[in-house]
Amino acid sequence: MDSALSPDRFQQDLCTEMPVLLRVALRLTLDPVEAEDLVMQTMYRAIRAKDSFDGTFLRSWLVRIMKNEFIAACRSHRAHAKPIELEMLPIEPGAESEELSEAEFQMDLLAALDRIPEDYRLPIVLCDIEELSYEDAASALEIEVGTLRTRLHRARRMLRQRLLMEGL
């Protein structure tokens, strides 16, 4: 930890990472209220563990804390993310020609992403959405860079297949 980094400065740095953490938390918990709680827990945990931060890349460090908090919460409260509705809605006659707006398509895309298993979803969230490097994302997820790369490529394929299957 950089000794020149005051507590106030550290909290300000945490605040700048909040939007990213909230988006990642949302894709992790699949619930806006749980996501907000998870980010706050992460913030408090980070403040308490400030001295263990090596000062290199705050975002990776925070995502790592958040993932561990999420796993701990799931274990202690059995508060797994809400089950995803896997069965597809029947497509009504004439729905093939239904025009989708860009916003609707983005929502469908995010919904398809949320149906991908967590181990594959997070590399897409970190690398493709939040634009972290392979190295930073691997550090955040505590996996090897090669593993991250393989999961990311597989996840992209899974997402593409889901979209094709859903006719998007």
């Binding site: 907000e36 989708l100 790369r149 297949q161 979209l163």
Partner: protein, 91 residues
């Protein structure tokens, strides 16, 4: 954008198996000079791989657009205030 009938992925929509990692690496700018040339050469004659690259690129672009329009500023502001105003609770 048209919604079509649900279906499985056709073989014509799959990229060449040996190219998938190369194509993804190229999209991420992680190919060396020789690999890049190899990918470019392959894409010149392979429609399936071109389609694959195009769809992955589109998906990434749209996910980033969705990020920009996520409308979470209000929630973030509320969390900021909580963090600044309240001390961290004890474990």
């Amino acid at each position: 954008m048209k919604r079509q009938k649900p279906r499985t992925e056709r073989w014509t929509e799959k990229p060449c198996r040996f190219m998938e990692h190369f194509l993804n690496d190229a999209l991420d700018g992680r190919c060396g000079i020789m690999s890049n040339l190899f990918v470019k050469g392959h894409l010149l004659h392979c429609v399936r791989c071109r389609r694959f690259v195009e769809s992955i690129r589109n998906n990434i672009a749209r996910l980033r657009e969705a990020r920009a329009a996520d409308g979470s500023q209000e929630v973030v502001e509320r969390m900021r205030r909580r963090l600044m105003d309240q001390p961290p609770p004890d474990d």
